[in-house]
């Protein structure tokens, strides 16, 4: 078979737009930008921002979907005439990458026929062009001025069911995209301001919930109408060159802020990896996902080097992967730039190997792409954090975070018929209540939510129970589910649900990661708990209820407890069965033996961490009253530290000690120093570990142990995967500080994740 030359046109390969608009469409674009005086700029900056907010609130108010209203699975955008970003909205951040390529594709492929014209709008859910997966529909509208395209507005929004073999679109058994919801390349849904009812019906017809899909499509159209109208008003008032000048300056200013931050960081390469689990039901495989970040001069490059080939229902496309990374760039590097991500994107190159898990080719299955994407976000956060740890600007060190709890979203879908025989189907949105990672200077917030999406909210129990025939027995924060560390990771939650008023209901599991292998935390922090789907069969819960007791966790007598795999279909829950959904906690930051003992006392008193685990991992001993036993703590910490002396010797031990402050930091514990005419990486205690451009781990003590050593809640990975999973720990041979924890397969080589230098 001959392999054709890849065509990055959004059909088999992802669409990769040209750097600038082709000659053929230039006449269509209104690109004249004028000087904008500082006062007009400040006014227009606010006004354009408010246009986008109005666009978003219009969608929230007119949408029908809890996924939109509570989980905020949508975001509006303003783009310039050629589809480059001006403003992104403050809702779901990873949708960022979808709209821009979609607009460019439309300009390249839909002009002059059927035509980009005043009063037209386009829609698409094509993941190879401009969607994270088929459920995310983009609606895009040109803003015309003087018969040319002045700008674009649009939104991406998650539609609840667009057909295919799995209700709700998340299909754990899909072998390819033909098992899933259909793909719609950009079509002109609105012409001359009127919706094309033929296309609307064609679109709705595929859905199990056509009315809901209709409501949400109309919501997106209403949002675009508001935004187009408001930008036209600004154009009338200020004139096109001034408004365009302001749009350009918004991006230029953001770019300048981004460049200023990059200037504090040395060239280098930072690498993070994790595993996706279960390509389909019954699969016990592990698949590597890797996000590599390189800084060279004034640019960043993100690459998916080392990522495994696409497989089963585990892959995402280029647009989703870029969106994932952009979400964390925005949150960690552009937090003060009011969602003007376009400025940063100008200085970022994305290099993804086609045919891999994070740049899948058609016809890969994609309905679960968002789960892979979530893990990409978590990996991007780790790689960016490792890079920031090398910045000379201490204020940027405050943005360093360990492994987030939102490293994937375990989809726990349920369905059945209610007492009146009416069908229902939905999924628990509760896992949005993720623990937040430990930062380099403060604890991760317990149940803080998604770090990249400031507004996501867990549904109320009463909202879930009002819609569906179930009763939530408990929904609680799980103590110790966040990882230990100098700054601990945030705890996450679990919920328990039983059928209510019906005899049985059916569950589907569609999860992609972190049931077996937790995400590796940062700089010696410990991992959080994993995701779990637990079915407690044949309990005595009905007897307990009848006797006047609401069963608490662990209280009901359980016949058998089944742990369901990440992907499963048609699991029936009977009236005596309790379904427990556990979602993963966040990782801690830094050596737990350096945690302030007073903070550990508070952890234990508040119930966030158990006393035994606090003593085991953090070495803090409490007396019977729960007060600190300072002497016992000091002794316990000394002995835990001393144990590390017995770990395996470094493969390339170094001699010598350095003095004074490092010329450049690497995280809180390491730094680059001048030592005997050589530039070296040394521990904070002064011990030299490696040459400046080498892997510091080569000079560190190490051991391999079971992952439960890192968190007592972690169950045996063998329940889910075949590979041997280990916790690899690295410590300074001199001061015995724990410098890193790596969670990987037993036969993986050690990860060289911080590589300084590399030239421009």
């Amino acid at each position: 078979m001959t392999v054709p030359e890849p065509a990055f046109d959004g059909r088999t390969y992802p669409y990769v737009p040209p750097a600038s608009p082709p000659e053929s469409i230039r006449p269509l674009l209104h690109d004249a930008a004028g000087e904008v005086d500082p006062t007009d700029f400040e006014v227009l900056r606010h006004a354009l921002w408010n246009v986008n907010i109005e666009h978003g609130t219009t969608i929230i108010r007119t949408s029908g979907s809890p996924v939109v209203v509570y989980a905020h699975d949508f975001n509006p955008v303003i783009l310039d005439e050629w589809g480059d970003y001006v403003y992104f909205g403050p809702w779901l951040q990873y949708l960022v990458a979808a709209s821009s390529p979609a607009v460019k594709w439309i300009l390249e492929n839909r002009h002059p026929r059927p035509g980009v014209e005043p009063g037209s709008m386009f829609m698409t859910n094509d993941p190879w062009i401009g969607a994270t997966h088929q459920s995310d529909l983009a609606v895009l509208a040109p803003v015309f001025w003087e018969d040319r395209v002045f700008a674009w507005v649009g939104s991406s929004l998650h539609h609840q069911d667009l057909g295919g073999t799995a209700p709700g679109g998340f299909n754990p058994v899909a072998e390819d995209i033909f098992h899933e919801s259909g793909v719609v390349p950009p079509v002109r849904i609105v012409e001359d301001g009127e919706i094309r009812t033929d296309l609307e019906e064609e679109y709705m017809r595929r859905s199990r919930m056509p009315e809901l899909v209709g409501v949400d499509l109309r919501a997106q159209i209403a949002g675009c109408r508001v935004a187009v109208d408001r930008i036209e008003t600004l154009l009338e008032r200020y004139g096109a060159p001034t408004v365009k000048g302001a749009m350009r300056k918004i991006r230029d200013d953001a770019e300048q802020a981004f460049a200023g931050r990059l200037a504090t960081i040395p060239d280098g390469e930072w690498r993070s990896q994790a595993f996706l689990e279960a390509a389909g039901p019954g699969d016990r495989g592990l698949y590597r996902n890797s996000v590599v970040l390189r800084k060279r001069g004034e640019r960043l490059e993100f690459s998916n080097e080392g990522t495994d080939p696409q497989i089963g229902a585990l892959s995402c496309t280029l647009a989703a992967w870029e969106g994932a990374i952009a979400a964390m760039v925005n949150s960690q590097l552009m937090f003060d730039q009011l969602f003007a991500i376009g400025g940063a994107l100008r200085r970022i190159d994305f290099t993804a190997e086609p045919g891999t898990l994070t740049s899948a080719l058609h016809p890969s299955a994609l309905s679960l792409a968002v789960l892979t994407l979530d893990q990409c976000i978590a990996l991007a956060a780790l790689s960016i954090s490792k890079m920031l740890s090398c910045s000379s600007d201490p204020s940027l060190h405050r943005e360093i975070q360990s492994s987030m709890g939102a490293a994937t979203f375990p989809i726990a879908a349920f369905s059945g018929a209610d007492a009146g025989g009416r069908p229902f189907a939905s999924l628990f949105l509760d896992p949005v209540a993720a623990g937040m990672a430990g930062w380099s200077w403060r604890d991760g917030l317990d149940v803080g939510g998604w770090p990249w999406d400031p507004q996501v909210a867990m549904p109320n129990v009463e909202e879930t129970e009002a819609f569906y025939p179930l009763l939530m027995l408990w929904r609680r924060v799980v103590p110790g589910s966040g990882g230990a560390g100098r700054f601990r990771g945030g705890n996450s939650m679990e919920l328990a649900s039983i059928p209510h008023g019906i005899e049985t209901m059916t569950h589907h599991m569609a999860s992609a990661a972190h049931h077996a292998v937790p995400l590796s935390p940062l700089f010696g922090g410990y991992p959080g708990n994993v995701n779990r789907f637990l079915m407690q069969r044949d309990t005595d819960l009905r007897e307990l209820l009848a006797a006047g007791h609401v069963p608490a966790p662990g209280q009901a007598v359980v016949g058998t407890e089944e742990e369901l795999p990440p992907k499963a279909f048609g699991i029936v829950q009977g009236n005596d069965d309790i379904y427990v959904l556990v979602w993963c906690g966040a990782g801690g930051f830094g050596d737990p033996l350096e945690r302030d003992p007073a903070a550990v006392v508070t952890d234990v008193a508040s119930g966030a961490v158990g006393a035994a685990e606090a003593e085991r991992v953090s070495g803090v001993v409490l007396d019977d009253e729960g007060d600190l036993d300072a002497d016992a703590t000091a002794a316990r910490r000394d002995s835990l530290r001393a144990e590390r002396r017995g770990w395996d010797a470094p493969p390339a031990p170094r001699e010598g000690k350095v003095d004074g402050d490092p010329e450049a930091p690497i995280g809180p514990g390491l730094g680059v120093h001048e030592h005997g005419g050589e530039r070296v990486i040394a521990c904070g205690c002064g011990a030299v570990l490696a040459g400046a451009e080498g892997n510091w781990k080569d000079g560190a003590l190490r051991r391999e142990t079971g992952i439960a050593e890192g968190n007592a809640l972690l169950p045996d990975p063998a329940r889910i995967v075949d590979a041997e999973i280990v916790l690899r720990q690295f410590a300074c041979p001199s001061c015995l500080r724990l410098l890193d924890n790596e969670i990987c397969r037993g036969d993986d080589p050690p990860l060289w994740d911080i590589k300084l230098g590399g030239g421009a």
């Binding site: 700029f41 200013d253 009011l338 403060r442 400031p454 909202e463 609401v550």
Partner: protein, 696 residues
């Protein structure tokens, strides 16, 4: 008989006395935290003295005392409240503490939303160790799944008391569907701890959605003891001082309620101060015959906006206070950090001029105050341009430093390449545009056109800017209250309030609408409202009841409030669907609705209003005629700054000199009104200054 309106803020206690003849006596006294009742009584004494009578006679002569208080609001902001014990449904103790995972960013300004590393949940209203679970469970239909374990409640009360709880919140799932368990638990708490303060969640908020309801209950329990204590002391002092009539307390809903209710539900008074100001604007709007009004209050640090549409203040359903969100129908007052104290600065990254949101506050305040402020503010800009008179600020109480203001503005000007005067003009334009943006957001998102509204501008800085944001909005008519009452606007709002009670109930009704559920529910709610009003001594002819239904398309989450009349309720099938659709179209644009699946009714709301007699306000005597002074003032012309000789009209002579052609400045004791070139200003019958940008 007379009315007394008293509004207590953090700094000043404002008082308005309205007598039978329409006579007005208004003044201010210093507030006296934490014993606010002392400041209250001092203000009463001051008014009595101004009227030449004793405080006892004055109180005895008052039919009603209407009172707005920030006691609860301040206590919440400063987290100064009771130690609360919370009793909740087993399995769900974490509902309040985890705040639906969104508490860290709730209510934050948008420019801080992305910065997760700097976000925190607020300090807990209820310490987690004071949350106790008991066995009980009710389901969505209100059916009891597990009965209340009374022994566990009693044990919980004992434990919580031992741990220091002074106030109790009882928060059970689905108490809105069936309040029996909460009510029984309250009895048990009261029996075990008769002196303790108790709040039931279904009484604090009548909506499903447990987090928001529990938050309202917890906050209520937190504020309850202090608020009730204050109102009890105040009532005692007033009665001892001669008051025979009732003490009514301002609610955030925009009406007043008896002091006992305010003591039970202080959560309803949070945000009542701004609501009272809107109430005063409502009265003014009725007097002036304006149905649609944008009420704006610009002070030193913030700019507050509310809407009055069709004679009614526009309400919002949910509130964020201290990052806690809860449902509470109240006057929708929104704020941005734009005021006289807003700092003018250069953004080092973009190099452009910015204004606010940081404020110099009262201390150090603007540079011109000479109290150590070094960064220029909007007040400094207004001074340098000539709008403010350095020798006559706040009636001459404070001499303003023009040179200091100019120096500070010039320093910023040097950074952005502008002269000091141009910086001042640009800063005014930026702040005017920000204020117009907020107004536009509030109107446009409701499908209203701001140009259909008259704009009222009050607060210390309102008159200086109202013409500016009028122009930004494309509106033409602005009104600035000028009379004695303009400086005690919220107190005046209290004095002219109605008694208001809101009753709500969730129902579920799909189209085509039929049957009597809607009619019955509204009738029951109406009866509850009328009973409550009657109990408060408001007879039937003074009772006004407005009915609303909450509607949505079946697959939607958000609801739209639809006012309904007798007829529509009796025959809902005929008109309600259509009425909802037309309101929906107005809100979201034609063609936005997907009407294929009909519509549904999800809630009923009745607003019961007891109309209190409205005082008449008499015009004050006019001052003597004489020479009108003028000074040189900088205006924004077509080609930049333009210096024009500008008339300075004393407020007392505004009526006599109407219409006043711009450019002009109307100077009152506590405010200054700018009339730009091309505009005119005239006084109306009630001494308000009406600015017309078209010069008509």
């Amino acid at each position: 008989m007379a009315y007394l309106g008293v509004d207590i803020g953090g700094t000043f206690t404002d008082i308005v006395h309205l007598d039978d003849d329409g006579g007005v006596t208004a003044t201010k006294a210093h507030s006296t935290p934490p014993d606010f009742e002392r400041g209250f009584l001092a203000a009463v004494g001051k008014v009595a003295e101004m009227r030449g009578e004793s405080a006892t006679d004055l109180l005895a002569g008052c039919e009603i005392v209407l009172h707005g208080t920030t006691v609860a609001t301040n206590a919440l902001v400063q987290l100064r409240g009771a130690k609360v014990g919370l009793i909740t449904t087993r399995g769900h103790r974490d509902i309040l503490p985890v705040m639906r995972a969104s508490g860290r960013a709730k209510g934050l300004p948008v420019d801080r939303l992305l910065h997760a590393s700097e976000q925190y949940r607020p300090d807990p209203i209820v310490p987690p160790e004071l949350i106790v679970e008991v066995d009980e469970r009710i389901d969505a239909a209100g059916e009891v799944v597990v009965g209340l374990d009374e022994g566990q409640v009693e044990a919980a009360v004992a434990d919580l008391r031992a741990a220091g709880a002074e106030s109790f919140a009882i928060c059970f799932l689905w108490s809105v569907a069936n309040p029996a368990h909460e009510l029984r638990a309250r009895e048990l708490v009261q029996a075990a701890a008769p002196d303790a303060y108790v709040t039931c969640s279904h009484l604090a908020s009548a909506r499903p959605g447990e987090y928001e309801r529990f938050a309202a209950a917890a906050i209520n329990a937190f504020l309850g003891p202090e608020t009730r204590g204050y109102l009890t002391r105040l009532k005692r002092d007033l009665v001892d001082g001669g008051l025979r009539g009732p003490l009514l307390v301002m609610q955030a809903s925009g009406g007043v309620a008896p002091d006992s209710l305010a003591g039970d539900l202080p959560v309803l008074t949070i945000g009542s101060g701004p609501s009272a100001g809107v109430g005063a604007s409502s009265v003014l709007a009725q007097q002036r015959g304006e149905e649609n009004v944008i009420a704006t209050d610009m002070g030193g640090t913030s700019f507050d906006v509310a809407l009055i549409a069709g004679n009614q203040p526009v309400r919002s359903q949910s509130v964020v206070e201290n990052q806690y969100e809860f449902y509470l129908p109240r006057t929708d007052v929104r704020s941005i950090g734009a005021g006289g104290g807003s700092i003018i600065w250069r953004d080092p990254v973009s190099g452009v001029l910015r204004v606010g949101p940081e404020s110099a506050g009262a201390r150090p305040g603007p540079v011109a105050y000479g109290r150590g402020g070094e960064r220029p503010t909007i007040t400094d800009a207004n001074l340098l341009l000539g709008y403010l008179d350095p020798d006559n600020f706040l009636g001459g109480d404070l001499r303003l430093d023009v040179e200091g203001a100019e120096r500070a503005l010039a320093a910023v000007g040097e950074e952005v390449g502008l002269a000091a005067v141009d910086v001042a003009l640009a800063a005014r334009q930026i702040v005017n545009a920000q204020m117009a943006d907020l107004i536009r957001q509030m109107t446009v998102e409701r499908g209203m056109d701001p140009r259909d509204f008259a704009v009222y501008g009050y607060g210390g800085a309102g008159g200086l800017h109202v013409a500016g944001y009028l122009a930004e909005l494309g509106s033409v008519r602005g009104i600035v209250p000028l009379g004695t009452l303009s400086t005690t606007w919220s107190a005046y709002g209290c004095a002219t309030s109605d008694v208001v009670h809101v009753f709500e109930r969730a129902i579920q009704l799909g189209s085509p609408f039929s049957g009597t559920l809607l009619q019955d529910t509204l009738a029951e709610l109406e009866q509850e409202a009328r009973d409550e009003l009657s109990e408060e001594g408001i007879d039937a002819e003074r009772q006004v009841v407005d009915r609303f239904v909450e509607m949505k398309y079946p697959l939607q989450i958000h609801r739209v409030e639809v006012p309904v009349d007798e007829d529509e309720v009796a025959r809902p099938g005929e008109t309600l669907g259509q009425k909802f659709a037309s309101i929906y179209d107005q809100l979201y644009g034609k063609g936005s609705a997907f009407e294929g699946a009909g519509s549904e009714i999800v809630g009923c709301r009745v607003v019961g209003r007891g109309r209190l007699p409205q005082p008449r306000v008499k015009a004050a005597a006019e001052a003597d005629a004489g020479e009108v002074p003028s000074r040189s003032i900088v205006w924004a012309g077509e080609d930049g700054a333009e210096r024009l000789d500008t008339r300075i009209v004393p407020a007392a002579r505004a009526a006599e000199l109407s219409p006043i052609a711009g450019p002009a400045v109307v100077a009152a004791a506590t405010t200054t009104i700018v009339v730009p070139p091309g505009a005119t200003a005239s006084t109306d019958a009630a001494q308000n200054l009406v600015i017309d940008l078209d010069g008509a």
